[in-house]
């Protein structure tokens, strides 16, 4: 099992230390991704998803970001203990990242061919010209005419730019692809195209992927495994089937309740009440407790650990309520 892991994050803690406050963005998370698997990391804005993603490349801006604790093993090597030179070899080569906003993720004064080629040139020790030729192939692979390698980002549409970003990320066929909300900034029609492209390329290149999103629909479309993140902690994780069909955490339930259901159009959407807690001032117990409809006195006392769900090897949940064996979520009861 352990050899199979491409990514193994253990007890990662990341804080942003500013003059005014200590922002606890990520508070002890564990994430494992096996070869060729796709994990969806789901959560609201500000849950610490992007921070997690940047930690994997050791790219947290410091200052103010500080990785306080934990380890990130990539194919057995600890990223956090690497020298700058080794890190540069890993970035773009073993792990690559697709960013949220293709409008700003490309350098406006370099041709897209140069930008794709740069990554190949850096990691494969080939000349700029050869790299440029390979960049053209990459463009073709993401469905853009080779001749456009000489164009600049401002000459591309949003969807096309994201294709270019994908081409940059995949240029060196990394083992792990991190996609940080790759479709959020795109039009809905383009979203599906880009997603389809990513899915296809990942299968072709046999890559593992960490897909970060707040869109459960995207997760359902692409991911085999799902982790739900709330206020810097993983509150539930398991296979897509575990989380979508047998959800255990009240927060996960809340997320699904706020989604429209095509089968029952008459049903009212239930938003999760309240707001995410201020990450510089987290409540002492379960951070979801102040918003949780099932919360009890016990929830505010201690932080619930992630425990495996009875009868499942893959499904984990962090909720105090399950200490009572009779507890079950409203949604699951209705379903039964």
């Amino acid at each position: 099992m352990a050899e199979d892991l491409v990514l193994d994050i253990k007890d990662l803690v990341v804080h942003y230390e500013t003059e005014d406050a200590d922002v606890c963005a990520v508070n002890g998370i564990d994430i494992q991704i096996s070869k060729k698997r796709t994990l969806g990391l789901v959560g609201e804005t500000g849950a610490g998803k992007t921070t997690t993603a940047l930690s994997i490349l050791n790219l947290i801006p410091n200052p103010p970001g500080v990785i306080k604790n934990g380890s990130i093993h990539l194919d057995g090597k600890d990223i956090l203990k690497m020298s700058q030179e080794d890190l540069q070899k890993v970035r773009g080569n073993d792990v690559a990242m697709i960013f949220q906003d293709p409008m700003t993720a490309l350098n406006p004064v370099m041709t897209v061919g140069e930008q794709i080629g740069e990554s190949i040139m850096l990691h494969q020790n080939i000349s700029k010209q050869e790299a440029f030729e390979k960049a053209k192939e990459m463009l073709k692979m993401v469905g853009i005419a080779e001749s456009r390698a000489y164009d600049y980002p401002h000459q591309f549409s949003g969807g096309m730019k994201q294709r270019v970003v994908i081409a940059i990320a995949l240029a060196c066929s990394p083992q792990l692809l991190i996609a940080d909300e790759p479709t959020t900034a795109l039009d809905v029609t383009i979203q599906a195209q880009v997603l389809e492209l990513m899915k296809q390329l990942i299968q072709e290149k046999e890559m593992a992927m960490l897909l970060i999103t707040h869109d459960l629909g995207v997760v359902a479309e692409v991911c085999e495994d799902v982790a739900v993140m709330y206020a810097g902690r993983i509150v539930e994780k398991g296979t897509a089937d575990d989380v979508f069909n047998h959800m255990r955490h009240p927060y996960t339930e809340g997320l699904f309740d706020s989604l429209p259901n095509l089968k029952q159009r008459g049903e009212q959407l239930v938003p999760i009440r309240g707001l995410m807690p201020d990450p510089s001032d987290l409540p002492p117990g379960c951070s979801f407790a102040p918003r949780c409809p099932y919360a009890t006195e016990a929830c505010t006392k201690s932080i619930p650990p992630l425990k495996s769900v009875e009868g499942s090897k893959t499904h984990f949940v962090a909720c105090t309520a399950y200490e009572n064996p009779d507890f079950s979520l409203r949604r699951n009861e209705n379903g039964k």
Binding site: L57, L59, F99, A105, N107, T111, S119, Y152
Partner: protein
Amino acid sequence: MIKYIVKRLVMLVPVILVTSFLIFWAMSLTGGDPALMLAGDNAQPEQVEQIREELGLNDPFIVRYANYMKGMVTGDMGKSYVTKRDVFKTFMERLPNTLLLGGTAVVIAVLVSVPLGVYTAIHQNTWKDTAGMIFALFGTSMPNFWLGLMLIIIFSLKLKLLPTGGKGGIDSLILPAVTVGFGLAALITRTTRSSMLDVLRQDYMTTARAKGCSEKRVIFTHGLKNALIPIITAIGLQMSLVITGSVLAETVFSWPGIGRLVYDSISKRDTPMVTGSIIMCSILMCIINLVVDLIYAFFDPRIRAQYSKKG
């Protein structure tokens, strides 16, 4: 692109016409009576009248202006009242000296300030940043002719290392160029720093890091190339400061450039020289501005595209 350049050059014509008209008009109001000056103190009224007729001073203003412009096209801007030499020729003789001084100053300023600006931006909010910013603050607060005087006191009079003025070898260029370049360096340092700080926050910098670029490559290949546009703008805008600085530095160091020429002509009330020099200076500025715009296009593909469309 070439179309654009041609278009810009054509657009220069009305600008030059308007500026030269204004300058010509202003100077013709102030110059006193040139005929009287030329004729000398004990001239007969008939002699004065004759000179007046020869110079066409009795013509109406518009005619004189038209004649002046006609002359200008062929490089004839009249003769100096004082030295009797051709204005255009004198200007052109002096111009290389000013270009040498200004050019050296700009080169020194850029070589110092761009690296310093990048350095302070990377080390934002550290003592290195503060030190750099204090340097820049003093640079912008110092009148540069005073800096020139201080440099003379220190390097020429106390240390006796460099000449106090005049144009000789390369050593005579150092102090005037530093004088002109110092304030410029301070301004460019500030611009580079803020432009770089802005660029450092951009997403494409993270993209570059995520690709595996070394920090050096991220800063210089990806960062500086993007930060350059505001820096070039700043340098372009400061060109008039370079000219102003040159006038003062040339006065302080007796450097035989156009600044010194204008100053001398003003103090001698040599109207054709002043008029001609100022008109030529404004043409020079227009050309510098055009060159700056073209340099933009060289560095920024978006601007390049715009120019081609317009052209």
